[in-house]
């Protein structure tokens, strides 16, 4: 079986272009004028010449015959009426005005008047869609679940927190995951032989064991602060400081090490910094202690800062990040800050929760690092907040290895 091609259908309706050209050429006419007037002029001219109907003379198109129709036109007409003979079919096939009907179209034709579910390209192209009925679906049924690319819920949360801090004017500071005890402890004025060093249980390294200490003058100031308070007005811890101990390497136990590095490297005044990254402590792993955890903390530096500003900073965090309504402050202790404060915030759903801590860095810490003005250090229980915001009860899910959970867990937005 054959069917009209797109071109064939058009010529059947409008007439062949060469016939149209000849109808236009009542007398010789300029080539340019014919070109402008006749659609598909190239095709028209080619066939008119081939059939010996025209010639070109000095830019003029001269008619040699006056045909009203042609074999092809007749064949097209006969085909459309289903009366075309074999010669006519071949003629039309040659000129690609008809083509063999495809299987799909046959099928589509077979669908005429029927109710179908799939709208095919053939139905669209042939216009046969007009003659079928598209079956209505159970449109209220939900689609099949698919699992496209997706962010990790906790990573998405950390990113949102990071964005928030940047919006609040904090600049990021970093440091290595493997840290010198010097930066993790000594530069933070935690005495080598004092229980305050056990403030947190920490990991030690088997390999490599020791690193190298930074600038000698800096190390010397830290040593003096420990031994006798140096020029800070402190008595110091009163013991002999050991450089070898400070060289020991450890996975960092808190990102406060980053703050110490930042202060020593030089800070902007006023300055606001944050760090948000991995820390390591040998806790027994359970629903509230993971193998690793993220800490979010930072420092704020300015001559104008004091205790009231520290409370203000924490309150701002409680409202902006934790979504708290009310805050309450408790005296607190960190070996490297004095005074120190803990923030509890009243959350609309959780009630009173410990959210953050802060303190003003001790002068025994800041002055040896080269900073003479107040530095507020703050830290935020980010994993706890993440658990709440992501609606999970077991901290180990923050690093979930369950693909099903990751695929189904919604993504966080403030």
């Amino acid at each position: 079986m054959y069917k009209l091609t797109e071109e064939g259908r058009k010529y059947l309706e409008d007439g062949l272009p060469e016939i149209k050209l000849m109808l236009f050429l009542k007398k010789p006419a300029p080539l340019e004028q014919a070109k402008k007037t006749i659609k598909n002029f190239g095709i028209a001219l080619m066939w008119a010449k081939k059939l010996g109907w025209v010639k070109i003379e000095k830019g003029m198109l001269v008619p040699l015959e006056r045909p009203k129709t042609s074999k092809t036109q007749e064949a097209l007409k006969n085909f459309s009426e289903g009366k075309a003979n074999e010669n006519e079919i071949n003629l039309l096939l040659e000129r690609k005005l008809i083509e063999k009907e495809g299987a799909v179209l046959k099928k589509a034709k077979a669908l005429k008047g029927k109710t179908i579910s799939t709208l095919t390209p053939e139905l669209i192209k042939t216009g046969l869609w007009r003659e079928v009925k598209l079956k209505p679906y159970n449109i209220e049924a939900k689609g099949k679940t698919i699992y496209p690319g997706k962010r990790h819920p906790y990573a998405r949360f950390l990113w949102a927190v990071r964005r928030k801090l940047i919006d609040m004017g904090f600049k990021e500071m970093t440091g290595p995951l493997i840290e010198l005890e010097f930066w993790n402890f000594d530069a933070l004025f935690q005495a080598q032989n004092h229980p305050s060093r056990d403030w947190t249980q920490t990991y030690t390294l088997k390999h490599p064991k020791k690193g190298t200490l930074p600038d000698k003058r800096l190390v010397d100031r830290v040593r003096k602060a420990h031994e006798n308070g140096w020029t800070t007005g402190s008595t110091g811890w009163g013991y002999k400081w050991d450089a070898e101990k400070a060289k020991q390497l450890m996975p960092r136990a808190h990102t406060t090490a980053c703050s110490a590095r930042k202060l020593a490297e030089g800070v902007e005044t006023p300055g606001k910094y944050f760090s948000l990254s991995r820390c390591y402590r040998p806790d027994v792993i359970d629903a509230t202690h993971g193998v690793e955890f993220n800490q979010m903390e930072g420092i704020v530096i300015d001559e104008s800062l004091g205790f009231k500003e520290m409370l203000g900073l924490l309150k701002m965090f409680a409202i902006e990040i934790a979504g708290a309504e009310k805050v309450r402050f408790y005296p607190d202790y960190y070996p490297f800050t004095e005074p120190s404060v803990q923030l509890s915030a009243k959350h609309p759903e959780l009630g009173w929760v410990e959210f953050a801590g802060a303190g003003i860095f001790r002068e025994e810490l800041t002055r040896p690092l080269g900073v003479e003005i107040p530095v507020i250090a703050w830290g935020f229980g980010i994993d706890r907040l993440a658990m709440y915001k992501l609606g999970i009860r077991d901290i180990r899910y923050l690093f979930s290895q369950d693909l099903e959970w990751l695929r189904k867990q919604p993504l966080f937005m403030w």
Partner: protein, 554 residues
Amino acid sequence: MPTIEVSYQDICSLIGQTIPKKEFQEKAVLFAKGEIDEWEGDSLKIDIKDTNRPDLWSAEGIAREIQGRYGNPGLPEYSVKKSDLKVIVDKKMKNIRPCTVCAVVKNLKITEHVLSQIIQLQEKVSISFGRNRKEVAIGIYDLCKIKPPVKFTAFKPDQLKFTPLDFKEELTLKEILEKHPKGKEYGFLLSGLSEYPIFIDSANEVLSMPPIINSEYTGKVTKETRNVFIECSGFNLKFLLPALNTIVCALADRGGEIFSADIIYPDKKLTTPDLKPKTFSVNANTTNKLSGLNLQPEQICTLLEQARYKTKTKGNKIDVIYPAYRQDIMHERDVIEDVIISYGFNNIEPVVPRLPTTGGQEKIEEFSYLTEEIMTGLGFQQTMSYTLTNKESLFRKMNLPEKSIVEIENPISSNWSVFRNSLLPSLLEFLSKNKHREYPQRIFETGDIVITDETKETKTKNIRNLACAVTHPATGYEEISSCLDAFFLALGKTYELKETAHPSFIQGRAAEIIVNRKSVGIIGEIHPKVLNNWELENPVAAWEINLESILSLF
């Protein structure tokens, strides 16, 4: 942070007045840097935030601090009467457990409750402040059963026998370490010693083997005990003296009378305890600058008196005298904090600092985020895993020879004992745990790896990497290499692939990823041997690149 169990009634009676519960919780307990953790009937659990103030870790200490703000301000007075009790320290102790400080407390009225408080304080001080008995071990004995002088000496593990607390039969020192629960728990503190420390009296009655256990006979304090002998032993007087002061002051608050003991060292004599108050001074201007409170020197003095200081002003200079049980005051700040605590943190209006700063993050974080966007666009699920792992996963399972990596000495578990030097094992481990989940599975992670690097201050370096893996029955090299191509197309960077042999990948299906003539990563189809090691049943193709190298192209 120590959690102290106390009785509400007991605390109120020590304070000398009943403070309503709500007020106690929201105001009073804050003066002792405490927070109520649990409150059941009369029983209270209080978290004491300050790990550097053992004097606060008892009902007596908490009450003392609160009392100052409830009608009884000023320096608490403790007098020490002289006793003739002597403790002789053997010269061989120098290399064993060199120091001890001792005291006697008489005329105690010990109830069941008081006894539990004494034991609690002794425990908290020796564990939290005494670094788990290493720096400070404390013994309390029934004085009536001791015949002075007491000798602090050492015996060989088989040389001496005594009946340890809560046991019925005599054991040798060695047996105590093997059989007694405290021996098993603390025996490591004596490891490497050929002789063990012993307190023994003139009748050869053993008092204790510190820091392990007291004897059943002398070292058992009961409700009937009236007079006690107390010793603290360790290595450094700096820790021992405040520990002893903490204990005797608590007992004195219970009505006990404190007597001294003479400690005769081979080269010196010490008389302990020394409860003579200590001195310091603060400046009113500094106090006001730090607190923002704008107080007159007299007001500061009132607040300090409430915090149990004695004060004297000379213009802006305030001289303070503070109790001997405090060992935490090193700097003016330590005193100023007490002014603010007396004032009440919640009586201060917070001021939000308005500082003109601009925010920003590290370039590598920005870049990581960009690559994560590309990877999710390519249909990959992001994963996050620990940077800690084990050698088994990094090397044997990946069919790789062991190499130098960063290793932890005291891991909690061998599962997390080294830092990963590649992300691919993390991804394969993830896939191995999700074999029963729907396929195809496409995952990626951006994360840090840690490698050794001699040139660095820390002899190590962390590097941000990106790795991805795909697994399903029909996957292979073509699929993952298309992802790599799309990745670089999105970054607008060019790369080349150079065939390589890598034991984790199939021979002839692994390539180094070259950017700017430098190798920045690896791509390939995972070797079936590696798949077997991880018990994976479908083909896996993967790549891993160093994001920092690529970032350096921008």
